[in-house]
Symmetry: C2
Subunit: 379 residues, 2 copies
DNA sequence: GTCAAATAATTCAACCGCTAAACAAATTCC
DNA sequence: GGAATTTGTTTAGCGGTTGAATTATTTGAC
């Protein structure tokens, strides 16, 4: 019960626009001022909340002490393995990114163990930086472009050609020592980053992650949707044409064959260079991208009909390509989504830069602390 | 806290295979025997639990008093409006159907108000029957083949040609008096019925409801998934061929055009008669149904890739047709679902008879009481 | 400049609900 | 018939919330 109320109070502080007073919290939580005072005291000595000077207020009365999340409370380390880069960042309790780093380079020729060791090294460096700045990293999360079990087993990461890689086991005792590391899908964590950075009114959406493959993270009522076993969001292998070209996964006509990076950059250089060329050659873009957007729209329409979300966020490489893609996606959605007749869909580009999943991963760590403050307050 | 523990104890009784003793409940909930005793006492005087004679047990010790859900506790009324029938039933706390009724007849020519009044009348009759048998109906739920808002507004029921029908408002003060009635989608409630009747190990699945249209109810971890606004599960309008035939909804190549009742019964009499003919003419069935199953499989594969469930239940008219449909569905799923490589999909026919949604609706009412016993215990 | 009004936060007694341990009840085993 | 065993109840104690009274700190009026 105490644990629940601690989380309740902390959540109210996190959600507030201005630093709330204890009295504000009592009003918004329904608890007594006495109770809130006791809870806040625990959270302050636990290092999760801090008092700020009283904000000038109109009218009489004793001024209220504002409460904010402690900027030097426990921090989260986010790591990301992707096909063509490794990334990491440290985020404080308020959600502000404090340190970040990216290592470019194709990871496909590197063995899983070496990739994991490299990203752990990157994480250790960031952790040391954070410590030097006065921040203790409380935990880490690692984003991987593949299907991950709760135990930290990467079942399959097709575009890295990983297969039953025990990521959690490999990381244990490495450069990160005994820091607890959770492992999750890249699109899921990027969707969380979008949820918290994207801001205003974003409640339920599908985040489409265009990297080498196409993944999706589904957020419903500000909560990540994981499916029954945590393997949801394989948008890239939703069928667009039942007898289309064969996909790497063995099936016919998967979306990835129409809107994956390789399809978009056919006859162009791979990676950033190809993307730049595509954006520069407006003729080519105007020809190739709307078709991909239509396929994306067909697949997403099916998803939306089943899942009922009202917003699609285009992320990864789809973000910068959104000007060409979004109109086609939108057209297909309004044509095919049953509810769009009275509740139109929104399609927007992601508000995030590169390495969104790393930011989301770090954010997930601090959100876990905020959701479960009781453990942290005991120490 | 008390409310939570009341629900916890009640849930354990509901989930148990044999009538548990207070000591069993203490063990399974982690509470003390003393606490459980106090909670059970409240639930017994509240009329939700009943004691049964001690079951003969091996070994020494005082015999335990078994606890069961009270068969004469508050009951739930389930109602269903469908294109070609109205149905209703009363279910007691244990989930047993005690009274039921069906009114056959095409509802399409009838006005929404008349349909709603008719189904309410059916409900009132069942309620009176239940009362005569000693059961008080505590609430009702109505299943409608369409998209329903939380406020009881039927936004659209395409196959009834309903459009913004205020079902809750129309029912208020009618034959059901002031009995609280919730309104929900037919496939959702049928899925709940499957969850509770289907039994063993059914945890996460997609229930496919083949009626005039094709709907789906999604259950994840024994919990109904509703999407952001409660409009999930429109499987019938998932795209199978982006440039297939035009659907009533305006889009091209919707699943309904390939596996809807009208497509299955082309050139055959509509309704039951046509279905009987189709099943009798094995040549025709073997020719027509696997193709429909393949389309169903393509659409479901996309759904499963996104939602990550491991079981598909074929309900409505797809239930009796499952022998012809299921193999094709299964083949398509194992070909197209990414996770099927290491975690094969299950496709099975529904265990339910007709009017599954009415049973699910009544079950939903009693499950609500069981989930929130505190309110009931106060009186 | 002092005092009343207003608002914030703390203190303290009372109470609710759970726990732990002792105790009473009802049966089997020897 | 008595020891052993298991169930269920009773009682004291404790954590945590409530509600009222109290203290603290400011604004505004006279």
């Amino acid at each position: 019960m105490r644990a629940h109320n601690l989380a309740l109070v902390l959540g109210q502080v996190a959600a507030a626009h201005r630093p709330p007073s204890r009295a504000d919290l009592a009003a918004s939580t329904g608890l007594t001022r006495a109770t809130v005072s006791a809870l806040v005291d625990d959270l302050v000595v636990g290092g999760l909340l801090a008092e700020v000077g009283p904000a000038p207020r109109a009218g009489a009365g004793r001024p209220a002490a504002g409460l904010v999340l402690h900027a030097y409370g426990p921090a989260g380390l986010g790591l990301e393995i992707n096909v063509d880069y490794l990334a990491g960042c440290v985020v404080d309790l308020t959600g502000t990114v404090r340190h970040r780093a990216v290592l470019h380079g194709d990871q496909r020729p590197v063995s899983p163990t070496e990739v994991l060791t490299a990203v752990a090294g990157l994480g250790a460096r960031l952790r040391a930086e954070a410590l030097a700045a006065g921040r203790v990293v409380a935990g880490a999360a690692l984003a991987v472009p593949g299907l991950v079990s709760g135990t930290g087993l990467v079942h399959r990461a097709p575009n890295l050609a990983w297969h039953d890689v025990d990521a959690a086991g490999t990381l244990a005792g490495g450069p990160l020592g005994d820091l607890p590391v959770t492992i999750d899908n890249e699109a899921n964590l990027a969707a969380l980053a979008e949820l918290h950075a994207g801001g205003q009114g974003l409640d339920s959406f599908v985040y489409v992650s265009g990297e080498i493959g196409i993944g999706a993270g589904i957020v419903l009522h500000r909560d990540l949707f994981r499916g029954a076993r945590g393997w949801s969001g394989e948008l890239g292998h939703v069928c667009v044409h039942p007898d289309g070209p064969r996909c790497r996964c063995g099936a016919l006509g998967c979306l990835e064959q129409y809107a994956g990076q390789e399809a978009l950059l056919r006859d162009l250089p791979a990676g950033e260079a190809g993307l730049a060329r595509l954006r520069a050659d407006t003729d080519l873009a105007a020809h190739r991208l709307p078709a991909a957007g239509t396929s994306l729209g067909v697949a997403l329409a099916g998803v939306v009909n089943m899942l009922d979300v009202d917003t699609v966020v285009l992320g990864g490489i789809f973000g910068p390509l959104a000007p060409w893609l979004a109109p086609a996606v939108e057209a297909e959605l309004s044509r095919r989504v049953l509810t769009s007749a009275w509740s139109p869909m929104t399609v927007r580009a992601s508000a995030l830069g590169p390495a969104a999943a790393a930011v989301g991963a770090a954010g997930a760590v601090v959100r876990d602390i905020l959701a479960e403050p009781a453990e942290w307050v005991r120490t």
